[in-house]
Symmetry: C2
Subunit: 178 residues, 2 copies
DNA sequence: ACCTGAACACCGTTCAAGT
DNA sequence: ACCTGAACACCGTTCAAGT
């Protein structure tokens, strides 16, 4: 006689995201997740091979959210950058997790699509990929440093972000002296 | 009667760095470190408050190495960028660790000095800090993505790095249309 | 078919006891 | 003064047994 399901993959992932945000990766334990969804830890292994698989699923869900967010904002680079930064501020732990070994690389491709589009508009097809990498690397590094509190030499961080974006666009735009 | 010291703070940190590089953060356990320096785990608590303190010391040592490396290379931006990238390739785990919560922020300041100098030469005093943040954020994000294997859409990664650096310099340099 | 208690290996940490 | 064994709490994981 089959026992009725007492939880679901989605519920587990949601619980994982909540625990991650308010306890960091160390708070995302199998026992904490299980107890939050009303089950015992061993039951989680019915749906995830191990903790690493669960963490990856949590990261993938976050990336999907991020991708939807970027899609919804159009292809203007400033809008994209702001949306990216807003996501990082709202889900700092998830943002950090995304760029860790447990990151699901193929999910990242979808989230990167809007940036690639914006880069193409700016520099054309040939250099679109390089330009997208430049922009993404800058924004990711900046946010990571901002979240870790590495910006302690003073100065306005918001202004530094805008300054960076402007300089990037200037450096990427086809310049007139050619 | 005092027992003679069987290890030292430096030896412990060195052991920690080695374990980190070949087993990731998960390989950096108190027991593994202890056994590598010929002591039992509880002895480590004579010199480090807890594992986190040890991990921070490991990160600080790595940052010091990085700083020395950047100092030794002068203030040319391309040289600095290459040295930064070389360090990340040689010590990927340490590089990742540096930009984690356990990062010792004040040690980062020293390592950032050469970049700040290069930025000042490029854009002048007023914008030196913003420019340094742009460059550091880009390089850090780029290397982090490279190490994590996030660059899977093809294209030459070396070339993308050079392209990014060129665009950055172009965007930062005082441009002629003013 | 899903869930559980019990068990195991491993980890961080404390502490009284050794020298 | 430094080191240790023993102990504790906690974690990930397995598995036989329940329904």
């Amino acid at each position: 006689m089959p026992t009725r399901e007492r939880t679901s993959t989605n519920e587990i992932i949601t619980a994982g995201r909540e625990l991650l945000e308010d306890g960091g990766p160390a708070g995302l334990t199998m026992q904490a997740v299980a107890s939050r969804v009303g089950v015992r830890a061993p039951s989680l292994y019915k749906r995830f091979r191990d903790r690493d698989a669960l963490v990856s699923a949590v990261a993938a869900a976050a990336v999907d959210d991020l991708g939807a967010r970027l899609e919804s904002v159009g292809s203007g680079l400033p809008r994209l950058a702001d949306a990216y930064r807003a996501f990082a501020h709202e889900h700092p732990e998830a943002f950090r997790l995304i760029f860790t070994a447990s990151a699901p690389v193929e999910a990242l491709d979808r989230a990167a699509a809007p940036v690639l589009r914006a880069a193409r508009e700016l520099v054309g097809d040939d250099r679109a990929l390089d330009a997208a990498r430049l922009i993404t690397a800058w924004a990711t590094g900046f946010l990571q440093m901002e979240l870790t509190g590495a910006f302690r030499l003073g100065g306005d961080v918001d202004e530094a972000f805008d300054y960076g974006l402007d300089a990037l666009v200037r450096g990427l735009a086809p310049w007139p002296d050619a």
